[in-house]
C-alpha cells in the first residue's frame, strides 16, 4: 500500500512469512478460550478462516500494489489516518495483552504505567532499528519458539486425551460462523501484510499464501495440542497455550511458565515494533515528512501508542472484529475504486 518506503530496507519472501507468523503466533498464544466453541469447531473455523483470507483478503491486499496504493490527496490521507490509528491501536493492544498476561499470571501488583511505557519505548526503539532487523529477528525467534513449543509439548504427549475431539456436547449450530468471525478478527497481521509489499524484494503473492498455509498448520497444531493435552482445563484457563507448561514434567525446571512468558514477551515486542514501524511510516505519509525528520515519527508513534494503552477500551475495539474486517476488505476496495475513477477521469 505504501508506494515509497520512507525508511528504506528490503526483506525477502521468507522473512515476510516469518514476520507475519510471529505476529499471528502472539495472538495465538494469548488467544482467550471460549467455552461455547468446541475444539473440533475451532479446527474447522481455522480452515474456513484461512480460506477466506486466502480467497478474499489476500487478493484485495495484493491489488493495492505499490503503484496503485495509497496516493496523496484527501482520500489518501484519510485512509492513511485510518490505517495509522489501526496500527497504533493494534500495537497498543499487543502491549496491553502482554501487560494483562503479566498481571494475571505473574505479577499481581504490576504497575500498568511502568510496564506499558517500558514496552512502548522498547518497541519504538526496535521499530527505529528498521524492518530488516525486525524481519531477521522474527526468523530467529520463530525458530526458538518452535523448539520451545516442541519442548513444552513433547513431555506431555503421554497425557494426551482425544476425547475432547469426540465430544458432541460442545457442538451446536451457529458455532462455526462465530468461530470463523473470531478467527478473522484476530487477523491484524493480514492488514499489515498489505503494507509489507513496499518492503518486499520479490513478488509478495507466494509469501502471503505460504503464510496463510503455515498459519493454518500452526493454528491447527496448537488447537490440537491444547485440546489433546489440556482437555477441558483449557476452557477454564485464561491462556490455554501456556497451560501446556503446567502439564509438562520437565527434567530441568519445576515449571516452565516463565519460559513461556519470555517467548511471549519477545514475540510481543517484535510484533508491536512491526506495527509501530508501519504506523510511523504512515505518519510520515500523512505529514509528507522527508529526510532526517522521518526519525521523529518513531517517538511520535510510541507516545501515541502509550496514550492508546490508557484508553484500552478503544484500543481493543479498534483492532478487533468489524474494524479489522473493514480494513482488509472494504477500505482496500474503496481505494481501488477511487484510484480507478481517478484514472478514468484523467483519461
Amino acid at each position: 500500500m505504501n508506494s515509497n518506503s520512507f525508511f528504506g530496507g528490503r526483506i525477502s519472501g521468507a522473512q515476510t512469512v516469518c514476520l507475519l507468523l510471529i505476529c499471528s503466533m502472539f495472538s495465538l498464544m494469548t488467544m482467550p478460550p471460549d467455552e461455547n466453541i468446541g475444539f473440533k469447531v475451532q479446527l474447522a473455523a481455522a480452515a474456513v478462516s484461512a480460506l477466506i483470507q486466502a480467497m478474499i483478503a489476500i487478493p484485495l491486499v495484493m491489488l493495492l500494489s505499490p503503484e496503485n496504493g495509497l496516493k496523496r490527496g484527501f482520500w489518501g490521507i484519510v485512509c492513511r489516518i485510518l490505517y495509522c490509528i489501526f496500527f497504533l491501536a493494534i500495537s497498543a493492544n499487543v502491549i496491553l495483552e502482554s501487560f494483562g498476561f503479566l498481571e494475571k499470571q505473574f505479577y499481581r501488583n504490576a504497575g500498568k504505567i511502568g510496564v506499558c511505557i517500558t514496552l512502548a519505548v522498547l518497541c519504538g526503539y526496535c521499530a527505529f532499528l528498521g524492518i530488516e532487523g525486525l524481519a531477521r529477528s522474527s526468523a530467529v525467534m520463530l525458530t526458538v519458539l518452535f523448539i520451545i513449543t516442541i519442548a513444552l509439548i513433547l513431555p506431555s504427549v503421554g497425557k494426551a486425551d482425544m476425547s475432547v475431539f469426540m465430544d458432541r456436547s460442545f457442538v451446536y449450530s451457529g458455532q462455526l460462523p462465530k468461530a470463523v468471525y473470531k478467527d478473522l478478527s484476530r487477523g491484524g497481521e493480514i492488514v499489515a501484510a498489505g503494507f509489507l509489499a513496499g518492503y518486499s524484494k520479490e513478488n509478495i503473492r507466494k509469501p502471503f499464501y505460504t503464510f496463510i498455509a503455515v498459519k493454518l498448520l500452526v493454528t491447527c497444531g496448537i488447537i490440537f495440542a491444547v485440546g489433546a493435552i489440556g482437555g477441558r482445563f483449557a476452557y477454564i484457563t485464561d491462556y490455554p497455550f501456556m497451560s501446556l507448561s503446567a502439564f509438562a514434567d520437565d527434567v530441568l525446571f519445576g515449571r516452565t511458565d516463565a519460559v513461556f512468558m519470555a517467548i511471549l514477551i519477545i514475540s510481543g515486542i517484535i510484533s508491536a515494533a512491526f506495527y509501530l514501524l508501519i504506523a510511523s511510516e504512515l505518519i510520515c505519509g500523512i505529514f509528507d515528512v522527508r529526510d532526517k525528520n522521518v526519525l521523529l515519527s518513531f517517538p511520535v508513534s510510541a507516545v501515541l501508542c502509550i496514550l492508546l494503552t490508557f484508553a484500552d477500551g478503544y484500543a481493543k475495539y479498534l483492532c478487533s472484529g468489524v474494524p479489522i474486517i473493514l480494513l482488509f476488505t472494504v477500505i482496500p476496495l474503496i481505494i481501488i475504486l477511487l484510484n480507478r475513477r481517478k484514472k478514468e477521469a484523467s483519461r
Binding site: A14, T118, L119, G133, L134, A258
Partner: protein, 502 residues
C-alpha cells in the same frame, strides 16, 4: 619558490639547490635532534644523505648505500643530472626505493626509515629503504591463543605483517594497497583483499572512507573501527579485529577486506559476521565432531555469560517455582542469611570482579598475580564465610564471568549486558530479562557490515554457509566450492553496502 611553511609543506616541490633543500628540511623539522645529515661528495657533486636516527639500520646503510655511493665513477661528467640518472638506472642498492619530488613525500619517507639522497642541482631526491628500527619479535597472539594452529601473531610493524600474510597466500590475486592516513602522524595503512572475491566498489569505498579520516594520529585499530562500522546505537560492532595472520588469510579467502595499521598488531576485517565470534583456528584443526561440540559450547557460553546471573536473580526473586523442589530448598537455605537483596548481591560480586580484573590487567604481571589472590581468595572467601554473599550466587556469577572468556571478542558488550540483565531481572523478573533479550536480538539483527547482515547466514538463512556455523563439516565437504561472503542470502556486498552511501 617561497619557503615552505612549517605546517604546509605537502606538495611543495623540491628546490634544485642542495643548500636550499637542506634549509627547508631543517625549517620543516625544526632541526629535530634525531635528523641526521651526512654531507658527501659523489663524483664531484655535492650531496647529502639524510635519515632519522633509530629508524635505519646502520650496517645496511653502510654496506648498501654509503659504500656503493662512494665508489661511483661516471668519468668526467660532473653534471648532477648524470649522477641522478646513474643512481636511478644503474644502481639498485635496496629493493625498496623511490624518488621524491616534493617535501611532503620526502619527509614521510625519511620518517618511515628511508635514507634520502639529496643531490645538489636536481629537484629530486632518491629514497632507499633501509629500515632498521627496534621491533618486537613475532610472538603468539595474546587474545587468540590456540592449541594446534600456528603460533604466530601480527606485530606492530605493518610490513612484517604484510609478509606474514603473503607467506600464507602465494597468490597473485592477493593485493596490498599501502597509503598513509591522518595528516599529522602519516600512519601507514594497508588495505588487503583478494582481487577476484571482493567487489571493486567495496575496496574503493573502504579506501575513500579511510582517506577521509581527519584524526591527528592513529595509534590503534580502535581509532579506525568507528569509521568502518555502520551499526547504529548498538553495543555490538560491525567490524572484527584479529591478531592472527592465519585467521586473517581465511577471512580474505571468504571475500573480505583486511586493513592493517602500522603500529598495532591488530588487523581489522570487514565485513564481519556475528558467527565469527564463535569460530577459532582450532576448530579447523580438530576433528569435525569435536569442533561442532566446541562450537555449541561457545554459543551456550555466550548466552550464559549474559543471562545466567540475571536469570538466577529473576528466578530466585520472582519465579522460584521454576526450580525443582529440592534445588529450591537448597537455594532458599543459602539465601536466607544474606543481608542484601539478591540483585544488590549480584551487582556487588560482579563489580568486585571487574575491579580485580581491571587491577590485574594494568598492574605489572607479578603484582597482578597478587591482586588475583587478594580478590579471589581473600575478598571472595571472606565475603562468603561472613555471610555477605551466598554461595549459589557466587557460582552463577563466576560461571558467567568464566563463560565470557570463551568468546573474548564479545567481552565488552557481554560485560555490560550482564549488568543490565541483573538489574532488569532484579526489578522486573523474567519480564525484564525477556524484554532485554528482545531488544538485544533485534539490535544484533539490524546491524549490517558492508551491506551484509551480521546475523547471516543464520538470518537471512543460507544453507551452503551453514556448513561452518553450528557444526564444522569435514574438509572433504568444505573443499566443494568456497562459500563467498558476497553470495550469502540478503547480501548487498558491492551493490549498496558502501560506506559512502550509508
Amino acid at each position: 619558490m617561497t619557503k615552505p611553511d612549517m605546517l604546509d609543506f605537502k606538495g611543495v616541490p623540491l628546490e634544485k639547490s642542495l643548500e636550499k633543500n637542506l634549509e627547508n628540511i631543517r625549517r620543516i623539522t625544526g632541526k629535530s635532534s634525531d635528523l641526521l645529515e651526512n654531507p658527501i661528495i659523489i663524483n664531484g657533486v655535492k650531496c647529502n644523505l639524510i635519515c632519522y636516527e633509530g629508524m635505519i639500520s646502520t650496517s645496511t646503510i653502510t654496506e648498501l648505500i654509503l659504500h656503493p655511493l662512494m665508489n661511483i665513477d661516471i668519468g668526467q661528467d660532473h653534471a648532477p643530472e648524470a649522477l641522478l640518472s646513474h643512481v636511478k638506472n644503474h644502481m639498485l642498492m635496496t629493493i625498496d626505493r623511490g624518488f621524491s619530488e616534493d617535501y611532503g613525500d620526502l619527509i614521510r619517507r625519511a620518517m618511515s626509515g628511508f635514507a634520502i639522497l639529496l643531490i645538489d642541482g636536481v629537484a629530486e631526491a632518491c629514497a632507499f629503504g633501509v629500515q632498521g628500527y627496534a621491533v618486537r619479535g613475532i610472538d603468539e597472539p595474546n587474545g587468540e591463543g590456540n592449541v594446534k594452529g600456528a603460533h604466530e601473531g601480527f606485530v606492530e610493524v605493518v610490513r612484517t605483517n604484510m609478509s606474514l600474510v603473503r607467506r600464507r597466500m602465494k597468490s597473485p590475486l592477493l593485493r596490498f594497497e599501502l597509503f598513509p592516513i591522518s595528516d599529522c602522524s602519516n600512519t601507514d595503512v594497508i588495505v588487503c583483499y583478494m582481487a577476484d572475491r571482493v567487489p571493486k566498489e567495496t575496496v574503493e569505498s573502504i579506501k575513500k572512507r579511510l582517506k577521509s579520516i581527519k584524526l591527528e594520529t592513529i595509534l590503534g585499530s580502535g581509532y579506525i573501527e568507528p569509521f568502518l562500522d555502520n551499526s547504529k546505537l548498538s553495543l555490538f560492532s560491525g567490524v572484527s579485529v584479529t591478531e592472527r595472520p592465519d585467521s586473517f588469510c581465511g577471512k580474505l579467502l571468504e571475500g573480505r577486506v583486511g586493513i592493517m595499521i602500522d603500529g598495532t598488531p591488530y588487523a581489522i576485517i570487514v565485513p564481519y559476521l556475528f558467527i565469527e565470534n564463535f569460530q577459532t583456528m582450532d576448530d579447523y584443526n580438530m576433528r569435525p565432531y569435536y569442533a561442532a561440540f566446541i562450537r555449541i559450547i561457545k554459543f551456550a557460553a555466550f548466552l550464559l555469560a549474559i543471562f545466567l546471573p540475571g536469570i538466577y536473580v529473576a528466578a530466585a526473586t520472582f519465579h522460584p517455582e521454576m526450580f525443582r523442589y529440592g534445588l529450591m530448598l537448597k537455594l532458599a537455605d543459602a539465601e536466607k542469611d544474606a543481608p542484601l537483596p539478591l540483585m544488590a548481591e549480584a551487582i556487588i560480586v560482579m563489580l568486585i570482579y571487574e575491579v580485580v580484573r581491571e587491577a590485574g590487567l594494568r598492574l605489572p604481571q607479578n603484582v597482578g598475580g597478587a591482586v588475583s589472590i587478594v580478590g579471589g581468595l581473600i575478598i571472595g572467601d571472606a565475603a562468603v564465610s561472613g555471610g555477605l554473599i551466598s554461595n549459589p550466587l557466587l557460582v552463577a556469577v563466576a560461571l558467567a564471568v568464566t563463560a565470557s572468556f570463551v568468546v573474548p571478542n564479545l567481552n565488552q558488550p557481554v560485560t555490560l549486558l550482564r549488568f543490565i540483565c541483573v538489574i532488569v531481572g532484579g526489578f522486573w523478573g523474567f519480564f525484564g530479562v525477556s524484554a532485554l533479550a528482545a531488544v538485544v536480538l533485534v539490535n544484533i539483527c539490524s546491524i549490517e557490515s558492508c551491506g551484509i547482515p551480521v546475523t547471516a547466514p543464520l538470518s537471512p538463512f543460507t544453507l551452503k554457509s551453514m556448513r561452518d556455523v553450528f557444526v564444522r563439516l569435514g574438509f572433504k565437504t568444505l573443499e566443494k566450492g568456497h562459500a563467498d561472503i558476497g553470495n550469502m542470502t540478503g547480501s548487498n556486498y558491492g551493490r549498496n553496502g558502501h560506506f559512502d552511501e550509508q
